[in-house]
């Protein structure tokens, strides 16, 4: 058990197999952090636009479009990473550094784009449920729209926005197919986002795609990794739920 939780080596096929989950957790963390860097700012800004700035007609067009984006299956995003994102990265960076065909960065980008709709639609719900009176009070004191949005509405909705962020991170942690196709399957602890990594979800797919016989340690490790993944996402979801409930109690 301690070997599983703290082992830094994952070699299920070696003569003396090692099942340390740390490389997988690191890979998962990298994808979650990288995709948050893409999705959280863009998602939040578009939520502010939709809730504070957008005219009614534009909003009624934009919101369904974002929702359509959420309905695109994840395997499509994985394919886009291979078809579009990685070649572009290679072209941009080939003079400076070597970019591997499977790399963490392209996975971060596509997963980030994938969770934008989640952030924007949840945050938008939260922002628009901030009472109108607060906005009007601020406008009455001579605040500009920018000041109302960033200094009144956003702080008031902060806990709800935070909840949507956590939910989006949890989605990124559990994301499978896009990462499988984009990031490859090499368990390693690295800071270089241009090399191949392996996440918990990818490992599960790898084990099930290879023919690990039923009952072997490799086969059973699938359930251990799955349980860890479940524990992580459940914790994140529960935190998000509690924060969101708190927000609702304040304003409703």
């Amino acid at each position: 058990m301690p070997e599983f939780l703290f082992g830094t080596e994952l070699k299920p096929d070696a003569a003396t197999p090692k099942f340390g989950i740390v490389p997988l957790i690191w890979g998962t963390f990298m994808v979650a952090a990288g995709s948050s860097m893409v999705a959280l700012p863009i998602g939040l800004l578009s939520a502010i636009y939709l809730s504070e700035y957008a005219p009614r007609t534009l909003r009624s067009v934009l919101k369904p479009t974002l929702e359509l984006l959420a309905g695109v299956p994840t395997i499509v995003y994985g394919y886009i990473a291979l078809l579009l994102v990685t070649p572009v990265l290679k072209r941009l960076l080939e003079r400076l550094v070597e970019v591997e065909t499977f790399n963490a960065l392209s996975a971060c980008i596509v997963v980030g784009v994938m969770i934008i709709p989640l952030v924007s639609s949840l945050s938008e719900d939260v922002l628009s449920s901030v009472p109108r009176a607060l906005r009007e009070a601020a406008f009455g004191l001579g605040a500009t729209k920018f000041e109302v949005s960033t200094r009144v509405v956003l702080p008031a909705a902060l806990s709800g926005v935070f909840a949507s962020f956590i939910l989006a991170i949890s989605r990124a942690v559990g994301e499978t197919m896009a990462v499988v196709l984009a990031a490859g399957m090499r368990p390693q602890i690295t800071l270089n986002p241009l090399t191949s990594i392996e996440t918990m979800t990818t490992y599960i797919v790898q084990v099930i795609s290879g023919d690990a016989p039923y009952g072997t340690p490799k086969y059973l490790s699938l359930f251990a990794v799955g349980l860890t993944l479940f524990a992580v996402t459940l914790t994140l979801n529960i935190i998000s739920g509690v924060v969101l409930r708190h927000f609702r109690e304040v304003y409703q």
Partner: protein
């Protein structure tokens, strides 16, 4: 608008006037990324499907609609193969349709039933709150975890060979049904909650039983919302790859499934299989398959969104 004003009364006036529009523009740009990405996504896949590899005479006619239709028709009628020219998704499409039908058969009644019970029948209290929290958390569980669950429970039955299903269509159906159940339950509940309380009171006051009230008044007026949730849930089931990989949908299946106890494949699983091929000539096949999948899903989702928006106008 920038006016010259007395700076003693308006500190940072110029900055405040300028910052606003800049921020607004940044927000608009962020919102547009979504739209741009959607366009880019469809465009690049379409281009990849049409371009094809240069050494492939079949696709060298030039990008036009006729060619696209031919490509999609060929992909839809051919079965899995090792030759990119012969490869297609017939087995996967048929498998996905089987999954869609059977998942709808199991998921819709159970999901709507659970939603109606929780909203209309269950006494408020601790138990209901626990169930409610559980369902909300289940909706956030990654799909691959459902796949592991399906593998352990349906495919292997915890090692009891006698009742284990094996990697059969039914195992996939049950796993996907579990996956979409929370979605259907939650949207059903939301739709029921939007039905005004006065409608229920009116029905009960006229002597209707609880069941008559639900059947004749509450359900009909909540129907659009429930329909939306159901369609969204089913489209989620169709697009899922990871859980099906876990419960035995294999890209190498060549026979069409004839019943719930046959081996099966699904469209996204076959796409994944082709996408893994190192041979670049498979790119056209992958892109074509994705076009079929995305067209199907976008149609389903757009229908759901349209139904919901129309529904909103009534209330």
């Amino acid at each position: 608008m920038i006016r010259s004003v007395d700076s003693r009364f308006y500190p940072n006036h110029w900055l405040r006037q300028v910052l606003g529009p800049i921020f607004g523009a940044a927000c608009l740009m962020a919102t547009c990324t979504g739209v741009v990405v959607l366009a880019l996504l469809l465009g690049s896949i379409l281009a990849a499907a049409l371009k094809g590899p240069p050494d492939n005479p079949f696709y060298a006619i030039g990008p036009n609609v006729v060619e696209l239709v031919t490509l999609v028709r060929n992909l839809a009628t051919q079965s899995q193969g090792t030759d990119p020219l012969e490869a297609g998704y017939r087995v996967g499409i048929v498998g996905s349709l089987w999954l869609l039908g059977l998942v709808a058969l199991i998921g819709i009644p159970v999901g709507i039933g659970a939603g109606v019970y929780l909203e209309e029948y269950a006494p408020p209290g601790k138990l209901r709150r626990i169930v409610q929290t559980n369902i909300a958390n289940l909706a956030g569980v990654p799909s691959i975890v459902y796949g592991i669950l399906g593998l352990a429970v349906f495919v292997r039955a915890f090692g009891f060979q006698a009742i284990a299903l094996g990697p059969k269509l039914l195992a996939g159906v049950l796993t996907l049904s579990l996956l979409i159940l929370p979605i259907i339950v939650i949207t059903t509940q939301e739709a029921l909650r939007a039905v005004p309380q006065s409608l229920r009171q009116a029905a009960l006051a006229l002597g209707a039983t609880r069941w008559q009230m639900v059947r004749d008044h509450v359900l009909p007026s909540a129907l659009p919302g429930i329909l939306t949730g159901t369609i969204l849930g089913l489209s989620r089931a169709i697009g899922e790859t990871a859980p099906l990989l876990m419960v035995g949908a294999a890209g190498s299946i060549l026979k069409l499934p004839r019943g719930p106890l046959d081996r099966y494949s699904a469209l996204p699983v076959e796409i994944y299989n082709f996408a893994k091929e190192p041979d670049p000539r498979f790119q056209t096949v992958v892109a074509g398959g994705i076009l079929i999948l995305v067209a199907l899903l976008l149609t389903m989702n757009a229908t759901a969104i349209v139904i919901r928006n129309r529904f909103r106008r009534y209330h």
